[in-house]
Amino acid sequence: MKLELKRSINNKTYIFALASCVLSFILGYILLISIDKLETVPLNDFWFSVYTVYTQFGFLIFPVIVAFVYNIDYREKNILFYKTLGVNAINYYLSKLVVIILWFSVGTLGSLFITSILYQDFSNFLITFLHFESVLIYIILISSIFAFILKNLLVAFISNLFLWILGIVLATTNKVFEYLCYFDASLIRHENFEKFLKTGDLSYISVFNDWIYILAVFVIILFAVTISKKRWEKNGI
């Protein structure tokens, strides 16, 4: 974990992670000004716009950095280095995952905090952060498993996009498939978050369900990592 933290600082990954969060916030603001033609931007509208950027553009922005973090070791053939230090596939996957989540969370939390200070409004801060964080962790989990299993950076990125788009398409045919694109803007969860931000009515939101979903995805992904130990070695040796 300490090793990965040091690497993320040395190779400037943290700057890219922080910058992508800040850019998402800027994009959220620009969309309100340019598309919705708002002259004054209320905080809750701004946050909802950024939330839409996270759910709609997140799969295009964040996985690039996630894929890079894993792929660099395959490109540099670093897996024997980790094995020499006694790091196994699961430790390797998890320590990178924690560091990635950490930097993106710092970026998201910092951006929310700064906007709260600018608007001097912290009323929905925690709930909004938990919503942003659940989307972020979901995207990181999905993109990290593709990056871990697939040696080719481009293939990992495309697979990730493919799953996301497939999920959206399938969700239109059957509600069961909504689990493949749980946070997508076309689903009720997204609409409910907007209603919550407008009314402050907590009955619209389901933070607990969101985090149970994240936990379930994490368990499935951990299983995938466990059965991909040999693949990890082959990818990076």
Binding site: L3, N11, E76, F81, T84, L85, G86, I237
Partner: protein, 209 residues
Amino acid sequence: MKLINYSLKVGNNLLFDNVNISFEKERINHILGSNGVGKSCFAKSTIGLLKYAGKIEGDSDISLIGSYSGVPQDFKLLDIRKILELHFNSNHIKSLCQLLNTSSIPNNIPIRKMSDGQKQKIKLLVFLASKPETIILDEFTSALDKNSSLEIYKFLNDYIKVKGTLIINITHNLSDVENMPGSYFYISNKKITKILDKDKIFDLYIKGE
């Protein structure tokens, strides 16, 4: 290390067929052979990356150092030393640094900006940190200039005297054989044959069979 009825097949290609041979401890065992005879595959099989038939005795503690054993390029020498001292015996790391003369390597530049010779020294530092019983070097000096190679030769000759490990050196570089005395092996016709005379292995390698 001893290979007993060792066979190795990669895809449909049988690279080794029923090989029985021993490599000597406290010596550098040079392995030469043409391209494609399976030298690197043999190396990878010793650490379980490729499945083989038969038995390899003494394969419990092997450090494989080749083009496929990289060290994260974003680290600096100082980072590497700290990590190694945290995981392994710090006195051993210090003695390795002395033997490798790492003081000549700048502490604060990332590995990716180092010369090939410096990168190879860092690799040796990392992969010998655990004091492995067996070291397999795969084309280790192929990208090095003469001076860097000579430094590595000196290190390996000293290391084997001090630590008494078994080193297998898979190489195309006859300068390795010339500068590091040891035993000689030649791979051909799916077998590994011990060659008793240095001149004979030079002949075999240069003129072919």
